[in-house]
């Protein structure tokens, strides 16, 4: 299956520059090569069917034919050795602490704006800056409790932060679903590898949500826009795994200064809302008046501190793609540390000099609208026609604040199985780790590896034809499996031990 694999030109996750497997991949590569093509294909089809039957799907907007799709799953795992992960963990922790400090600051003293480190106009002109919550004291002082930052690797294999998702990042259900799927269909791959577990995520999330309420035994709910939302599967999955109610706006109401849900036995008080609805739709009396997804009066109860929201209202100001450019400065300003993870160089339409650069070479840049996510509202210069570029540039000129541009990062690639060619082909990948911020910072090992399945494409978003992989973080840095039979029998012995150890540590955190 790895015949004629072309690993050149980009950083390859599995093979080094000489075409040799990297140490942490060696054993897995041997095991994959141990499958016959037909056996591999049989197992892949089983996984596909399992996803389809269990309805693990997402919704594609603006697509008339069959709006529910399964998220293509590639059975070749992406593997991250322990030392590499430790670096990422430190870098991400630093980043989310700084981002929360920034949010506390801009909704409070605004010291960073007063000191001119981040331009005041840039922050105040952000549509996600919510004056409605200015001066609010939040539980634990945390604004963004659930974070999904997108990481990419450049041609040298260096990890860069592409963007931070601080509002309602989705995808974590696929992390858990992918792990379950791969352990079922290819259990042999896991033997003796010391793959760190991920399934404790929902327990950690529930703990975090409960810690946001001062009441004993608070009622936690997940608020979804409803089953036609693209991430509905995830909303229901998380509610089910945490054992809390999944509610829609119409299930909730405000009276006597509290939030309640309608039940068959009358009203029941709600203390913490993990909302998967954007700020704009939360409360029609404060934000969009025509929203039917939200709850009338919710924000006033929130302001009085009688209900907690995760993530907090207004967190989006810090993941505005223009404000993003200042995150390294935030880290230095609030923590007095050097950023461990770099940003992708970014040109801001807001800045006259940058705008000039952007307009000079649009065909070499990737343009993004600052408020959009999910691969919507972007232009990939090198892949676009002149007409598409001209059209887009018109938008940029009309509202420069709303756009940024970045150079094309030659994203790292990973062998991915293509059923049509029955071969492994290199595909560009990114990585979205999921970070929980409460009293402590918890990051589940790994995250979601997204794969750009359209051949040659750099866009990994599920809405744009992306797929995903199970992502392993190893307990060690991996060993080359030269004498496979020996290393297997040895490692099988140590497997149960390492598993029980990691489970114990998962229980403690």
């Amino acid at each position: 299956m790895f015949d004629a694999y072309d690993g050149s030109a980009f950083f390859d996750e599995l093979f080094d520059a000489d075409g040799q497997p990297r140490a942490h991949y060696a054993a897995t590569l041997d095991r994959l090569n141990g499958f016959s093509k037909s056996e591999f294909e049989r197992r892949r089809l089983l996984t596909d069917l399992a996803f389809r039957n269990s309805g693990i799907t997402f919704t594609v907007y603006g697509d008339a034919a069959g709006t529910e799709r399964t998220f293509p799953f590639d059975p070749v795992p992406r593997i991250i050795p322990a030392s590499e992960w430790a670096h990422l963990e430190r870098g991400l922790t630093q980043r989310v602490l700084a981002l929360n400090a920034f949010l506390r600051d801009v909704y409070g003293e605004q010291a960073i704006l007063n000191d001119g480190v981040v331009p005041r106009d840039l922050v105040l002109s952000c549509p996600q800056f919510r004056r409605e919550v200015f001066g609010l004291k939040l539980p634990l002082g945390v604004y963004t409790h659930i974070v999904g930052s997108d990481l990419v690797r450049n041609e040298h294999g260096e990890y860069l932060v592409l963007e931070d998702n601080l509002r309602t990042p989705s995808g974590v259900s696929y992390v858990l679903g992918n792990r379950t799927a791969l352990t079922r269909t290819m259990p042999g791959l896991f033997a003796g590898m010391g793959v760190r577990p991920v399934q404790h995520y929902t327990t950690a999330l529930l703990e975090l949500l409960r810690s946001l309420s001062p009441r004993d035994n608070p009622t936690v709910v997940v608020l979804t826009p409803g089953m036609y939302n693209s991430a509905y599967f995830e909303h229901s999955f998380l509610a089910q795994q945490m054992g809390v109610e999944l509610v829609e706006g119409r299930d909730l109401f405000v009276s006597d200064g509290r939030v309640w849900m309608r039940t068959t036995e009358g009203k029941q008080r709600v203390d913490v809302i993990y909302r998967r609805i954007d700020d704009d739709y939360l409360d029609p009396t404060v934000f969009k008046a025509d929203s039917s997804l939200g709850v009338r009066g919710l924000i006033e109860v929130y302001r009085q501190g009688h209900v907690a929201l995760a993530n907090a209202v207004g967190a989006g100001v810090a993941d505005d793609k223009a404000v993003y450019a200042y995150v390294p400065k935030m880290i230095e300003y609030y923590l007095g540390e050097k950023p461990l993870l770099k940003n992708v160089p970014t040109l801001l339409g807001w800045d006259a000099n940058d705008l000039g650069e952007m307009l000079k070479n649009p065909a070499e840049l990737i343009f993004k609208a600052v408020g959009e996510a999910g691969g919507y509202g972007m232009l990939v210069g090198p892949a676009a026609t002149q007409a598409e570029i001209d059209e887009y540039i018109k938008l940029v000129k009309a509202n420069p604040r709303n756009y940024i541009a970045q150079p094309v990062i030659p994203l790292s690639r990973h062998p991915t199985y293509y059923p049509d060619s029955t071969r492994m082909e290199p595909c560009h990948v990114d990585l979205r780790p999921y970070i929980l911020v409460g009293e402590n910072v918890t990051i589940i090992p790994g995250g979601l590896t997204r794969v750009a399945l359209k051949r040659g494409s750099l866009v990994v978003n599920s809405s744009q034809g992306g797929g995903s992989k199970d992502t392993w973080v190893l307990e060690g840095d991996g060993v080359p499996a030269q004498s496979q039979s020996q290393s297997q029998s040895q490692s099988q012995g140590s497997q149960s031990q390492s598993q029980s150890q990691s489970q114990r540590s998962a229980g403690q955190t």
């Binding site: 229901s236 829609e248 309608r262």
Partner: protein
Amino acid sequence: MLSRVAESLYWIGRYLERAESTARLLDVNYYAILEGAGLVTEQWPPLLGITGSENNFKSRHAKADAKSVPFWLAFDLYNPSSIRSCISMARENARSLRDRISTEMWESVNRAYLELCFNTDMVLQNDALHEYCTKVREVSHLFHGIALSTLQRDQGWQFLRIGQMIERADNQLRLLQVRYRKSKADGADFAEALENHRWMAVLKSASAYESYRKLHHTRLAPRSIAEYLLLEPSFPRSVLYSITGMRDALKKLPGSSGVLREADWLVARLEYARIEDILDDEKPSLERLMESIGVAGRMVNETYFSPR
């Protein structure tokens, strides 16, 4: 329990039961009509009556025949009660409460949807209607079987059961209403063999043929069949059994006194009525019983689902 969740469970119960009833009706009659060739070509319109969809049907199809009626009952998405519509709706409701029902329940209804609601064009052409209908029945049985062994016995279970039982009682009454009237009007004009054939189909539509035979060894008598389908307490698809099931589920719910009174009154009438009271004196009539079931359904809705 959230009102919306309760309502969705109730409707899953109704939709799956409706799909199952329609599948039975269609399966039995489609093949019974083949055998009764010639004599019974007028047998298609009553099926529309039983499913309560004549008017809708007429706006979409010119003629009620062996093509249009099965298509309408099984596959037509313009018919909100077609099997395909019911399974799609049951699946939509299940999807909206994936967090509340067991994963196995969800997967069974999702698989049913993927198997039965797409590429249905070829089913009639390939003479695969029987397999299709069999699958529909199995889907309903599988779903309720899984619920029986995995769903928590909380309020949700009661709502699922109320939906199923109300729908079953209602379908059974419709079947009797249409078939019994039809038979009376025809009088003695029809040969006994045909009559026999037809009542056998009625029993089979209700999945009652075998159990009826065990209790009644005589020839198939319309009156005793009606009695069996209406009043037999041990037959799980009889009207009395269904209404009793609904009543028992309501008893377990908080604040049910209003609707429980209506349900108790229905049970009482069926428990004490003899078959001649219903068929000859119409006390209570089949129509009156159907109305009462409708009232109970509306009261469930007002008590538990409508926003207060």
